[in-house]
Symmetry: C2
Subunit: 215 residues, 2 copies
């Protein structure tokens, strides 16, 4: 597998291709091959874009036949690092944090190969500490983040705390060894550059959409 | 105000600049001007990027002085269409939908100029219909989306229903006149191209982050 510096937007699209393939019945013998047009239609991008994105990682397709769907699915899982279990911790067991954990647990129950396991949640509210979300995810005090994260081999963090607390929990996560953070708090995190942060900011998305309403 | 075809990524960054400026004390006389370096540092982008993005819309800065912060804030609000109230409807009054409404109501209570008003929520659960979220947002049956959306002059929709129901509520929203949708359901929406859709998909973001964990 070649490792190149790949644009983040391509990685985002590979994630969409992986999901689109995952929704097909890959065991159906009539479904063995999928063309870049078909995959593009499922993912909402052009066939050319599909071919360009996949070409960044190797030669997966056959001229005139398309991609072997099952094989491509497996390759994309590997490329994206989703071919093994990834433990995730959620800071903030408020409504958003709980909704994220429950959603994830439901996704795993649906079957398929969903790699993310909500291993722990953290909060500072004494009423929440000691509870278990969705029957599987224990809630600990936020001060325990470094220790619990390390013990449970958590690699990814989700931040769902108020903006004023985001930087603090992010630093505790990094202390525990977390290197990738999805941040729902409307606050910019200042962390070492090797920590990958994705900002999931509802207010910003709404502002972005507002631009298109002006007509 | 010039209207050009502006890249979506620039619009996203303008939203970040607007928020960064909004967090400054714009009434502070010592804060009258802000340089592209300062604004870039607050937004996490380079000064060159700041200047390029703003240049798409006109000449806001003064050589060697920077941007008039209050004026730039006002201009960005106008450019992004956030200088007036925008009514938003949420389809799905489950945990995620409720969390989104409460978060938004809290943002408005914080003060500042936050344009989004959660005017209505929709669900199919009889126990939810007739309730009011956060003291302000009534929950109606989803079948009422077109009428309620039209009556309340709702321009923007948020989808927080299960994936199998996403397309249905999206179509009802468009029937009611909604032209911009933020979709939290992991389902691709097939709508008229003039409807702007932003996909806010937690699972996809996690997959994207997983790529960077491979190290």
């Amino acid at each position: 597998l070649r490792r190149l510096k790949v644009p983040d937007v391509s990685i985002g699209r590979l994630a969409v291709y992986l999901r689109a393939l995952g929704e097909l019945d890959l065991k159906d013998p009539g479904r063995r091959y999928i063309s870049s047009s078909e995959l593009g239609a499922l993912a909402g991008v052009s066939p050319t874009q599909v071919r360009k994105d996949l070409a960044l990682f190797g030669e997966f397709g056959k001229q005139g036949v398309g991609y072997d769907a099952l094989n491509l699915h497996r390759e994309l899982e590997q490329i994206l690092g989703c071919d093994r279990r990834i433990n995730v911790a959620v800071a903030g067991a408020g409504e958003l944090g709980i909704a994220l954990v429950r959603h994830n647990v439901a996704r795993r129950h649906e079957g398929g190969r969903y790699p993310f396991v909500m291993a722990a949640a953290f909060d500072v509210d004494p009423e929440k500490i000691g509870t278990v979300i969705a029957g599987v995810t224990p809630v600990y005090h936020s001060s325990e983040i470094p220790r619990r994260v390390r013990e449970a081999a958590v690699k990814m963090g989700i931040i769902a705390v108020p903006p004023s607390e985001a930087q603090g929990v992010a630093e505790l996560m990094v202390q525990g060894g977390i290197m990738a953070i999805l941040n729902f708090a409307p606050a910019r995190l200042a962390l070492e550059p090797r920590v990958q942060v994705v900002q999931a900011d509802v207010s910003l998305e709404l502002v972005r959409l507002a631009y298109y309403l002006k007509g």
